[in-house]
Symmetry: C2
Subunit: 330 residues, 2 copies
DNA sequence: TTGTACGCGTTATCAT
DNA sequence: ATGATAACGCGTACAA
């Protein structure tokens, strides 16, 4: 690999001049030509480490998430990388697997100057570690007033879900979710749901269990058995994620409950496992492209030391699937 | 961020000594202690760019693939990153979207010294570009004798599929695939299938169309209609990927063909869209963890200028799903 | 065993 | 407009 010195020698100019040409600083057209020729001839590529050392900028951003092997995170990672690329940034992918120590090691790496900024989606309590001065954007999680975050408007999503169930003719609604110990913004889905029900005087139930995955499953089936199979006292369900919606659907189908005739269901997320997939269940879709776009825009602003909003809330939309009745007017 | 100089001053030694401590070169225990204390106190992190400039090693590998937003690539990317991390390497993720120019731009980046090596899964003809001297491992695609590649043993997979259909009682088999213009190793799936059939004198048909996606779909349905619905002359299908298997399944179900009673189906890939998914169709599973592991091992060997095998073929396995009949003895 | 000094390739400042 | 050169932080050969 040739260096700037060699280019300078070949073009018959000094290194300073070559540097100017590379960085688009004005030089005499003729010298510029000569330099560019030399660059081409030598197939010269600036060494990013030398440059990085000088300007301490790497044009690299780290993306920390639990695992890219997941439809939602996969789509998100794809879009974030795409946006970063458009801004001429590279992306280092970090699968934390939800592990605290792994996340910390990535943060350390970041501090070592390897990246200009971090976009993180984490549910660990890394709060006091993020206090450092490296640009950081959180997705889906509020840390503190120092860390800007980007998220779907989960509250609105909850309202929307309730509204659609209501308008689709459901009489008594139900929210199903697994309350996480970790504080994240998905809690607002429940709040939005309740808000709508209260405002429009809909009867509703809440099933929100904090506990292990298996325990949850069992308790949920018990609950559904009671309320739906026996009492028939619920005809509209809002599940806090599509995954839970799927569980509910499987259970109900096993018990010969017809969807959406007897019970209607709305999930949340609207992820597809690849670009060409189709969504089948009715759901509130998170605007993943938007989340990616806004996160990238935000981190770049931060890197450039520009001020940005501390909270970026993105609108969600209802997607008609086959688990709710179709309406003429909406 | 503090520098090596500051550490040296605080520890009362020279920078050379600090450097030695960092790089585990022997120093007097006492000085070592003093230096380590200073490092801790100042929260010193070596600047990777200065180091990179010096040793031209970045401990970073680029992964180029079509898109991480896809179950197979997602799982692969996850595992590759995981393995790289274990070797203290970072991974830059590059979604090429199958675009030639994008792939080239990533290769250029790599040549700029930003990464120590590249793992690529690409179907473009970047052959003459890869001739450069940067370490490169190809997955699933043979370029030339210079570029080592890692792949599933697709030939074996084809054989396995035919064998399982045979042993499950199928009388006349069928291969379904879309021949790509691009040369890749998946062609060997067909060859393996044929090999088994010829060897054991099974009757078989081949549907292998080169053409557009939509055209393929139409022609395939026509073919299935003819052979299965009308003639009943096929009772075992090996689809070249799970995606195609799914298409076949959907079509047959629409026409009231019972699976696996009337027709048995085996796919290929065995991907799950996330760690906790379940596989439902019978399939030949690619050993994704192994592919990841071997690719990483190979690229690191290459970076260390050690010689490696030019071809690494990994065994595949049959996974019992609900689209083939269960057998007692296998 | 430890310290000194040079060089890696680039950018930026200051002369020219 | 261009050239010379210091500085970025580190590793290492060589000197002490």
């Amino acid at each position: 690999m040739s260096t700037i010195k060699e280019v300078a020698k070949r073009a018959g100019v000094s290194v300073g001049t070559v540097s100017k040409v590379i960085n688009n600083i004005e030089v005499k057209p003729k010298t510029k030509q000569a330099v560019e020729l030399a660059i081409k001839e030598l197939n010269y590529q600036p060494n990013v480490y030398a440059r990085g050392l000088k300007v301490s900028r790497t044009n690299t951003v780290a993306l920390i998430l639990p695992t890219v092997w997941h439809p939602f995170f996969g789509e998100l990672a794809y879009n974030i990388e795409k946006n970063l690329r458009q801004h001429e940034y590279k992306m280092i992918l970090c699968n934390s697997e939800g592990d605290y120590l792994t996340e910390l090691s990535y943060l350390t790496m970041a501090k070592q100057n390897q990246v200009d900024g971090i976009i993180a989606i984490t549910y660990s309590d890394i709060e006091h570690y993020v206090s450092s001065n490296i640009p950081l954007i959180s997705i889906d999680r509020f840390f503190n007033d120092e860390v800007p975050y980007v998220s779907s408007d989960n509250f609105l999503g909850g309202q929307l879900a309730a509204k659609h169930l209501d308008e689709a003719g459901c009489q008594s609604l139900c929210f199903i979710g697994a309350g996480s110990k970790k504080e994240n913004t998905t809690r607002n889905r429940k709040k939005g749901f309740i808000d709508y029900c209260e405002k429009y005087q809909k009867t509703y139930e809440i099933f929100d269990l904090i506990g292990s995955q298996s325990e949850f499953h069992e308790k949920m089936e018990q609950f559904l058995l009671e309320k739906i199979i026996k009492e028939h006292s619920i005809d509209g369900i809002f599940a806090v994620t599509d995954a839970y919606a799927l569980e509910v659907i499987n259970f109900l189908e096993k018990h010969q409950i017809s969807i959406p005739d007897d019970v209607q269901i709305i999930g949340f997320d609207g992820v597809k496992s690849s670009k060409h997939d189709q969504i089948e269940i009715s759901t509130i879709r998170q605007p993943i492209e938007e989340i990616a776009k806004e996160s990238v825009a935000a981190i770049i602003h931060l890197i450039n030391k520009e001020t940005i909003e501390k909270e970026i809330l993105l609108p969600v939309h209802f997607i008609q699937g086959n688990t709710t009745k179709r309406q003429k007017d909406s």
